[in-house]
Amino acid sequence: MIQRTPIADAFTYVLMVLGFILLIGPFIVILAGASQTLQQINSVPFHFLPQDRFLENASAAWSRANLGTAMTNSLIMACLVTFGKVALSACTAFAIVFFRTPLKHLFFWMVFITLMLPLEVRVVPTYAVAADLFEPFRLLISALTGTEISVEWNLLNSYAGLTLPLIATATGTFLYRQFFMTLPDELAEAARMDGSGPVRFFVDMLMPLSRTNMLALTTIMFVYGWNQYLWPLLMITDPTYKTTMMSLGALLPSENSLPDWNVTLAGSLIIMAPPLIVVAVLQRWFVRGLVATEK
């Protein structure tokens, strides 16, 4: 809006404040509720002011949902997903942008297609593969030679199983590809003239140059990994591998017990904290990495 009249200004501000309340409202409810007593949280109307009972509620939630193990598992999973995804994205984008091979376009489109197949769509076949990694090979070998071999290896109840299917998608590849394409060809050529091979070029040039990109992707991927629910739910049967999103269920008051929503809210606040911290620390680079390329 280019014109600036008092009415237009007022309207804009009303819209902004409404949007802000809409976004921050649930968060205030959590903050307030997590620090109230059982009586306070069940009183009508709801009190929007935080009280002093947060630590008690938090420790109750921690032990009820066994959050110690769950938080550790989620942290490991989110970090592995982040690291794997950033590394894989950088490598695939490097291959797609800087190498001329006859099958380049085929590979590019294969990577592109994975964008249309998020984990939720391919969850059944992915589970089948994770449950029995060698099944396709066994079938192939028995069809070809007639011999049956009994090798079994599955990824159920393991960190590898939790993370690998989430890593193998293309979201980050495109962020990197866009950035690599903005680099002038001469940069790669100058490095070649200076005697640096592809790996060296990747480590010495592309990695430092794509730092903001990498941090932006880290932010997105950490939150993505932390928030995974469906896949861990299918994959994990062993309680020692439970993630926080699965423990959320255990925090809900059951039908015939006390409606202690204060404990539930305190638990969700704890679970919410790590991604919030990551975003808060990295947000400066996050915005820069997505909006502009540093020159």
Partner: protein
């Protein structure tokens, strides 16, 4: 490293380049001696940069051979060829300091840190960058970036320097200074240098040997002055020299031993006239060689407009339907609209065959055009 191994001669034999079906270089044969400063000149798209990049190893050679120091390098990686290159947009590493930029090649070659730093300092001194070693390229001016790019090439002590239009991003004044510095540097290092440009002034001033290219062919090879005085083709004649050479399509009139330019006849050598009988010709004369007579001369003309150059003036005149440029001194008193006469000394006329565009010479033993003609028949045959 001793002096001899620093220099290298370069042989380019029947080199071609195609991208799919389009051929951009049609069989180039060139030979550069050790320590020579070669300038490859041509309009954009003539294949000069492609040729340079093929020598560097950045483009594949479709056919033919390139040999550096008698060793065929077609299959060698750029780093194994002993060439260093200065790029048009400098291609500095933006995240490294000037010192890191200069020393990167040594770092890749695992030169120990102490020696690396010593050589970075030495090289920085050569190009005058000592105070800027800790800066990032973004904090440098165009000329300083250019110097970093040159330092990066020098530090490797290459056998061959390749320059890909390195001055075209600089402003006019800096370009002249850097041109002189490149020439001085060449005299100091005496490595073979190949310099690609589309600027004829750069080409004329820098070159020991000038190569003029057009549309993927080599038009002429020779010393700059030779090429200026004896252009081998209409293209070279029109491309080299500013203002450009005047060119007219005409035929020889044998009875009067003269050529017709506009409404006038200019006499030529009778023997030459006899030889050129019946051929379609293009004749050329440099604007500097035309004499303008304010009070009428052999060729009548009318002045269209005059360009002031300071050191002289360029008269643009019309004779019949032809336009014409002539350079005159300040003392000649003419104005736009004046009727003047032009004197075209027949000894200064250049004769070209109109169909092939090739120069026609009276002397039979003119080696330079013959060499080029050989290359062009090769190209036509393909």
């Amino acid at each position: 490293m001793n002096k001899v191994s620093k220099m290298a001669d370069i042989d380019i034999r029947a080199v071609r380049k195609s991208y799919g079906k389009t051929q951009t270089l049609h069989g180039v044969d060139l030979c550069f001696a050790s320590g020579e400063f070669v300038v490859i000149l041509g309009p954009s798209g003539c294949g000069k940069s492609t040729l340079l990049r093929m020598i560097a190893g950045l483009e594949e050679i479709t056919a033919g051979e390139i040999a550096i120091n008698r060793r065929v390098v077609n299959r060698l990686e750029p780093r194994e060829r002993g060439c260093a290159m200065v790029f048009q947009n400098y291609a500095l590493y933006p995240h490294m300091t000037v010192a890191q930029n200069i020393g990167y090649a040594l770092k890749v070659a695992s030169v120990p840190k102490v020696e690396r730093e010593r050589r970075i300092k030495e090289t920085a001194k050569v190009v005058g960058l000592c105070e800027y070693l800790t800066r990032k390229p973004a904090a440098l001016s165009g000329g300083q970036r250019q110097r970093v790019a040159m330092a990066r090439a020098i530090i490797r002590e290459p056998k061959v320097f390749l320059f890909d239009e390195p001055l075209s991003n600089l402003d006019a004044k800096l370009r002249v200074t850097m041109r002189a510095e490149i020439r001085k540097l060449h005299q100091r290092l005496s490595a073979t240098s190949i310099f690609v440009t589309h600027d004829q002034v750069e080409a004329m001033t820098l070159a020991d040997k000038l190569v003029v290219m057009n549309k993927g062919h080599v038009e002429q090879v020779g010393q700059p002055l030779d090429i200026y005085h004896r252009p081998a083709s209409v293209f070279v004649a029109s491309f080299i020299g500013s203002p450009a050479m005047n060119l007219f399509d005409t035929r020889v009139e044998v009875d009067t031993a003269s050529v017709r330019i506009g409404a006038a006849q200019v006499p030529i050598d009778p023997a030459l006239a006899a030889r050129l009988r019946g051929r379609d010709l293009t004749i050329g004369i440099r604007p500097e060689q035309c004499v303008v007579l304010p009070d009428g001369g052999r060729v009548p003309a009318k002045i269209d407009f005059i360009e002031e150059l300071g050191s002289g003036r360029v008269v643009h005149a019309e004779m019949g339907d032809q336009t014409f440029a002539a350079v005159i001194g300040e003392h000649v008193n003419v104005r736009a609209g004046d009727r003047i006469g032009l004197e075209l000394p027949s000894s200064q006329l250049h004769f070209f065959d109109r169909d092939s565009g090739r120069r026609i010479d009276m002397e039979i033993n003119s080696s330079v055009p013959q060499q080029v003609a050989g290359a062009s028949t090769l190209a036509i045959a393909h």
